[in-house]
């Protein structure tokens, strides 16, 4: 028995040597470090499902992007950094890689210097390391639409709007309940800065990972009697926050969720307790947008849909995946205008992302009106001035209750630059200038 096991693993070892990538000239490839199991599986299935659904739609409807077919391959990461890296090293030999989209802060961090070396864009839609917004230091990293600092500023602007203007903020008391992890702590200095600027009283309260016990935190909140609670949650922490808030008598409509606390999976387990809860989005939920309709009709209608559960079409994570597909493929389209309608190199796609400017009119043409507002990426601003909106949960679905709001970018930019310049100094990097943008590697 033991010997059998030995020979079996020896024969399996041969498989490791196999590299099963057939090379086709006119295909643009998306290697996906997806996660369909583990604690964050619901986010992973929704996001990667939406992404794949949109790629399928383009292939079937338009034959890809200008005739260049879109392909993808998946490697399961379970949201773990080590697995994400293994998948990166495994899949990166595929020809025609367009961009990486890990949807994981940890994996994205570990890929920072690897993608710079391999000259392939790394997209961290709605998340990622804030200072990668600075394209002078991070040419290949794109925290598209919304970085954590803009998210915080957007939330405070919304609270100001709801309370009748920024001058009303100084009479308010805001508590930020955050997850006890690097992700959760990232915005501590920003909220302090915003509190100083607008004069509101601030308390920041940490919830120990994983966040399945929050009795003490919500009792503290009850004692402090804040006007609003900002929830910077994560996985199981979100429904528990809502049920515990109900248990300690804090109203759900005074809780504002951040961009990782805004999905159906965050509110459904909380049931009644989530009614009235509001959360920030950069990509709206709902099935109204024409592109989502088209995905339903053409992709799911043809039995090619990626979501196992069709009722999740139009959910927050699914729409986020679709928009991620739009942004990736539009960057390809923009880069193709310049470099030719063929499969592009990673560096050419990087150029495309650095010119990814989609006006509200263009967004409408793409059938995504209402899904997201617009994007305006430049060589030194890799976030692209994404606007945010707020949605409220009515017990069964999200509905948007605000206009698109702009975060206070001018306030945030100096902090971002200080941080990215410190990184550049630590790593011995030279700051890019506008001339470097058009130097494009063609291999």
């Amino acid at each position: 028995m033991s010997f059998f096991k030995f020979t079996k693993s020896a024969s399996l070892a041969a498989l490791l040597a196999l590299s099963a990538f057939p090379a086709f000239a006119d295909e643009q490839h998306f290697p996906l470090q997806s996660y369909r199991v583990g604690p964050y599986a619901s986010g992973g299935t929704g996001f990667f499902g939406g992404f794949i659904d949109y790629l399928n739609l383009l292939n079937d409807r338009d034959g890809g992007v200008n005739g260049v077919k879109l392909t993808w391959s998946e490697g399961e990461t379970q949201y773990e950094v080590e697995r994400g890296l293994e998948v990166y090293e495994r899949l990166k030999s595929a020809p025609g890689i367009a961009a990486w989209n890990p949807l994981s802060v940890g994996i994205a961090y570990a890929m920072l210097d690897r993608v710079a070396e391999d000259r392939t864009p790394l997209i961290t839609l709605n998340h990622g390391r804030t200072d990668t917004t600075d394209g002078r230091v991070f040419p290949y990293v794109f925290p598209l639409l919304l970085n954590p600092y803009s998210e915080s500023s957007g939330i405070v602007n919304y609270i100001a709007e709801r309370s009748g203007g920024h001058d009303k903020l100084k009479d308010l008391k805001i508590a930020v309940l955050y997850h006890g992890s690097p992700y959760g702590r990232e915005t501590i200095p920003i909220y302090e800065l915003l509190a100083e600027k607008y004069g509101f009283e601030l308390s920041q309260i940490e919830v120990a990972h994983p966040g399945n016990e929050q009795q003490a935190q919500w009792q503290t909140i009850r004692r402090q009697r804040p006007d609003f609670v900002v929830l910077r949650g994560w996985g199981v922490m979100n429904p528990v926050a809502l049920t515990t808030a109900q248990r300690t008598g804090f109203p759900a409509d005074k809780i504002i969720g951040n961009v990782w606390s805004n999905s159906e999976e965050d509110v459904l387990p909380a049931g009644e307790a989530a009614k009235g809860y509001t959360a920030i989005v950069s990509v709206s939920a709902g099935t109204e947008a024409p592109v989502i309709q088209e995905v339903t009709e053409k992709v799911y209608g043809a039995g090619k849909g990626d979501l196992a559960d069709k009722t999740r079409i139009g959910s927050v994570y699914h729409n986020l995946g679709v928009v991620n597909g739009i942004l990736n493929t539009e960057a390809l389209r923009i880069a193709q205008e310049r470099f030719g309608k063929r499969a592009l190199t990673g560096d050419e796609v990087r150029w495309g992302f650095e010119h990814l400017q989609l006006s509200p009119e263009r967004v409408k043409e793409l059938g995504a009106e209402g899904l997201f507002h617009s994007i305006n990426v430049t060589w030194d601003n890799h976030e692209g001035e994404g606007l945010v909106a707020f949605q409220q949960w009515d017990g069964t679905k999200w509905s948007r209750i605000s206009d698109w709001i702009a975060p206070d970018w001018a306030l945030l930019r100096p902090i971002i630059e200080a941080s990215s310049e410190a990184y550049a100094a630590e790593q011995g990097l030279k700051l890019r200038t506008a001339e470097d943008v058009d130097k494009v590697a063609t291999d």
């Binding site: 693993s9 570990a110 200072d131």
Partner: protein, 361 residues
């Protein structure tokens, strides 16, 4: 039962002839130093060998504590984290120090922390001690992400390590990192091997096999336990630094979670308690086998099931294999390899004839 680690007789046996062990080690090292850099692909080095080396070293460290000294610990990942963050900070704040010195200081820091969290071992045993080591696991993770100083006030608490350099030479290639890691792992493994054969090593075994008896033959039990915690944490701390500097090149406290501690524990159980090579065999199994399984699964069934189903199945297979292994091969891979080696050399001896007797007959 006096100990939760009643060990099989064979694992205590020193290899019959040191020369055989030496020949084997030399052979393995020759392959590792010459053949691997020449022939291994970047994928093999980056995704397999670098994590394998760091985790092997951590397993060597834990084996010293658990296999030799009989103290069950579930906090290995915490000591790895201490090592990783200490190496980063020594390197950052005392930049004039050569990298190996930073690593040694990181190991010493981990040893200090290890002694503190080893103090309960003076009063508790068995699973009570094991569960108490979880305090280290959670406290270290909390402290490292709580105090910004540890991560140089990086807003998200995730650090990117500087490029690997040694005496002015850049080692910032997969092969460079691999050779650096290999050298440290070889040196420390040799050090641990020597230690287990010294008076301290015999004191470890005595404490493991019975504290009362150990006391009776004059072994200072509390000091021995704390020494085991210190040396083990030193080795695990350096392993953590390797994990951060050569493999991930980025570190966040969340990466050193309880799963990692269990993973290291799996390695020494599957590899074989109280053997150095068991730690390496166990690490190889735990690092490579899931990948093989995933590749085989995707290769054979990829078109039919999505990656989630495959991964879940893989989880079941690995869990079942661990159980199967514990049932079928309780002495670990080390014993299995000994048997295979013995059979091979017996066959070899038969083929060559009676002129050279088998070293293992």
């Amino acid at each position: 039962m006096t100990t939760i680690l009643a060990l099989p007789e064979t694992s205590r046996r020193i290899l019959p002839r040191p020369s055989a062990a030496l020949i084997w080690s030399a052979l393995v090292l020759a392959v590792a130093y010459v053949a691997v850099p020449l022939f291994a692909s970047r994928y093999v080095i980056e995704a397999l060998l670098l994590p394998f080396l760091a985790l092997s070293l951590a397993a060597v460290g834990l084996n010293l504590l658990t296999g030799y000294a009989g103290q069950l610990s579930l906090g290995s990942a915490a000591f790895m984290a201490v090592g990783a963050f200490a190496a980063y900070n020594f390197n950052l704040r005392l930049g004039f120090l050569p990298l190996p010195v930073s690593f040694v200081l990181a190991g010493l820091t981990a040893a200090l922390v290890g002694v503190v969290f080893g103090l309960p071992s003076l009063r508790l045993r068995g699973f009570y001690l094991a569960v108490s080591t979880l305090a280290a696991q959670f406290f270290v993770q909390w402290a490292l992400s709580k105090f910004g100083w540890f991560s140089n006030n990086n807003p998200s608490g995730v650090i990117s390590v500087p490029k690997l350099q040694l005496a002015g030479f850049s080692l910032d290639t997969p092969t460079g990192r691999y050779l650096f890691s290999l050298t440290i792992v070889t040196l420390l493994s040799f050090f641990v091997w020597r230690l287990t054969r010294s008076a301290s090593g015999r004191a470890f075994l005595a404490v493991r096999d019975g504290e009362t008896a150990a006391k009776a033959i004059g072994v200072p039990v509390p000091q021995t336990k704390l020494l085991a915690f210190a040396v083990s944490s030193f080795v695990i701390g350096v392993a953590g630094a390797l994990w951060a500097f050569t493999y991930l090149r980025t570190v966040e406290p969340a990466g050193f979670n309880l799963d990692r501690s269990f993973q290291i524990l799996f390695m020494i159980i599957i590899g074989g308690l109280a053997t150095i090579r068991g730690a390496f065999l166990g690490a190889a199994f735990i690092v490579v086998f899931p990948l093989l399984l995933a590749r085989a699964g995707a290769f054979l069934l990829g078109g039919i099931f999505d990656s989630g189903v495959l991964d879940m199945t893989q989880r079941i297979v690995i869990g079942a294999l661990v159980i199967l292994f514990l049932i079928a091969e309780p002495k670990g891979l080390a014993a299995l390899f000994d048997r295979i080696g013995a059979r091979l050399s017996a066959t070899a001896a038969r083929l060559i004839g009676s002129s050279s007797p088998s070293p293992r007959s």
